[in-house]
Symmetry: C2
Subunit: 447 residues, 2 copies
């Protein structure tokens, strides 16, 4: 139990806070900074513990998220906790509205994307209960820290609404870590999203390979048709039949050309766009996301360790103060009273330390939370883009196939035409004119 | 000069004549016999030489023309030289009418083919001038024997009308031998026709080879497409995009099937009919034609040699008679008168011999003529059939090509359909449902 001392909260002078200050002053100078508020544990424990005026601890952090080629989104924590606003960048398809309940959020983009519909719902004012008014025991009953992340226990805390209901947004479903099937290790939810991206990239690459194979088959086919079309077979056929035959071979050449063109277009209009969409830098970008989120988790773990350590130190100090107070009751002395004073000061200092550590932990968790939302929405957008890109280029594939069939059909028509003109009588006339030996018939010999 | 002796014409008792007798008695027992009359040298020399009643020497020959798989035509020499008739078998296309001028002709078929339009023109009664009424000198001026075949000299003899005017029929244009470009050897006109047949057979074979090559290309193409369609590339793509991708691969398999079917049909419906139309027996048949005509030409040469020999013998006998007659005038004696009688008898006999030899020569030439007309018309018909057969099967080729393009087009449609259904939101929903780690968001830690 922390005695009812309200230690003066140490001024937050961290790197993040200085960033926050910059954001609070409205500076937009550094486009890649972001901050986000947690859904604060307001009115936790169903009215148990001290009520009264709860301070809203506006927490925000800022850091640089260096992502090449990806639109970066700034999510800024509003100073006014009771007026949460939500702004989401316009999306090319669907443009889902981000609804944020119980959190302060302001989103902006440093790309040319415009904003629309900045309104959003606000049901609960965010913030956290002043620790001095609550009992630790009570807190332990409503929250649990798993892998250094603090979650409300089932049935505890205010009901959470999805950030983006009806959208199955990544930002709503990957808060917990994923247990390994063996149960030994666990994978951060964000890693699951990253793996989806990597798999998507792989699928895109494999589709490109598939089209490449098709291209090669078409090239080979075209080469064979072309070669055959140049064969001298039956080149000596004469007359109208010879003409039809020559056209048949010529049409085969045209057919080869159609398939060669198909191959070329497949290469430039399907295979290459599928291959080069998000080049090698994409995996590097994902790695940056990965490292960034992992760093935040490490920081969170470190802050959590500090909290644990400070909690133990406070317990030790409180124990010491209790012992000394009991000693005072037994034999009153100046020396003891001086000790008690000292012990109380140390206990108060330990309480302040714990508060500072918890505050730092919460700041880091808040920071991680913000990055999670931002990054997962980025990945979600990337996935939509990937699917639409692939859809567009597979459509191009079917268009090219249709074209090929049509062009192919047109190569047969002149053959049909000349086959219709085949005329054995005419061919005989032509041949006889050229090869006749003599039309004077023999006559009987006279004696 | 042959003295005015009309030697009794020896009765024609040759193999051909017995055949002729059979034909004249209306026997149709042996279907493959044929006989034909020459365009006789009627009123040759522009009224020169003896006029008067000209006997018509009906000449005909019969022989067996063994041609397998070919409708055989009987051309029979009419007994009534002044009522030439012409019957030609119905042809599937064009059905040209055979007009025979100045020759007796009757045609019949031993196949089930029906006859139509048996009428034909008759402008000149056929037959040949009785040799006894002409002077050899005169004959020599109006006719020339080239390679043992006797032709009227240019401008001599009655004007010859084509047997089948406006048809460019083989039977009208290959009477002379073809001079080799080097001029050394000469090729019978009939050989030119045979070479055309051989070339036609070769063209047909080469077209079949061409289609075979195309078949192989299609098979290879189908094999490659099919193999690619079974590739596992991007098989792990999920959701609606995954469905479209799976359909794209399935459609590739269908496309492969279309090309395989095309290949199979090309093989059975084009390549094979082109290859097997007139099998190996065809060349043997042509060889039989060849040998038959060559034999007739050899026989003609032999008969021509006999004529030359008989002509020389007659000249010798005439010289002998002349010498002996002159001796008689100088010293009359019984012995000499007996010699003259003997010499006159021998001269008469030599005259008869010559007449018999000329008659045999003319018979053989007539026989050759008939065979030439019959065989060249056969070959002409074979060529029409060949062209129509090829035309028909190249048409089948274009039909199959059209079908292939159409079937191909239909394989793309289900891909188009599923590409239209691709929906990034739905895909996200499916994936999130399956892969989400937890939707409870973290909260601030309390002290």
């Amino acid at each position: 139990m922390i005695p009812g001392q309200r230690g003066s909260h140490p001024t937050h002078v961290t790197r993040y806070e200085s960033d926050e200050a910059e954001q609070e002053s409205g500076s937009q100078g550094r486009g890649s900074r972001l901050a986000f508020g947690l859904n604060g544990p307001l009115r936790s424990g169903g009215g148990g513990g001290g009520g009264g005026g709860q301070n809203v601890h506006s927490r925000s952090g800022g850091c640089q998220l260096a992502v090449v080629g990806v639109a970066r989104r700034h999510v800024l924590l509003s100073k006014d906790g009771r007026q949460p606003r939500c702004v989401e960048g316009r999306r090319e398809s669907g443009s889902p509205r981000l609804e944020v309940r119980g959190m302060m959020m302001e989103a902006s983009f440093d790309t040319e994307e415009s904003f629309d519909d900045p309104s959003c719902l606000a049901s609960q004012p965010p913030g956290s209960v002043s620790p001095a008014k609550r009992q630790i025991k009570e807190v332990k009953e409503t929250k649990a820290t798993i892998n250094c992340v603090t979650f409300p226990l089932p049935g505890e805390g205010p009901e959470q609404q999805l950030l983006k209901p009806d959208e199955w947004s990544y930002c709503d479903y990957f808060w917990a870590d994923k247990k390994d099937p063996q149960g030994a290790t666990s994978l951060p939810g964000f890693e699951v999203l990253l793996q989806k991206q990597l798999k998507g990239k792989q699928m895109q690459k494999e589709m490109s390979e598939f089209i490449h194979e098709r291209t090669k088959i078409e090239e080979e086919y075209a080469k064979n048709l072309s070669k055959l079309s140049l064969s001298p077979l039956a080149a000596q056929e004469e007359g109208t039949l010879g003409e039809a035959w020559t056209q048949l071979k010529k049409s085969l050449h045209d057919e080869a050309e159609v398939h060669l063109k198909f191959a070329n277009k497949l290469h430039t209009e399907v295979e290459k766009p599928l291959l080069t969409f998000r080049g090698d830098h994409f995996k590097k970008d994902l790695k940056k996301y990965d490292h960034h989120m992992a760093d935040l988790r490490k920081q969170l773990a470190s802050r959590f360790a500090s909290v644990e350590k400070a909690r133990k130190a406070l317990a030790d100090r409180q124990k010491d103060l209790e012992v000394k107070t009991q000693q005072l009751e037994v034999k009153l002395s100046n020396k003891t009273e001086e000790d008690i004073k000292k012990a109380r000061r140390k206990s108060t200092q330990a309480g302040d330390d714990l508060m500072r550590c918890v505050d730092l932990y919460n700041q880091t968790q808040s920071k991680w939370f913000e990055e999670m939302v931002t990054a997962s929405m980025e990945l979600e957008k990337l996935e939509v883009e990937r699917i639409e890109w692939i859809q567009q280029h597979l459509r191009q594939y079917t268009t090219l196939r249709h074209e090929t069939d049509m062009f192919n059909q047109s190569t047969v028509e002149p053959v049909d035409q000349l086959l219709q003109n085949v005329d054995p009588s005419k061919d005989r006339e032509l041949w006889v004119k050229e090869n006749k030996t003599g039309e004077v018939r023999p006559v009987d010999m006279d004696i």
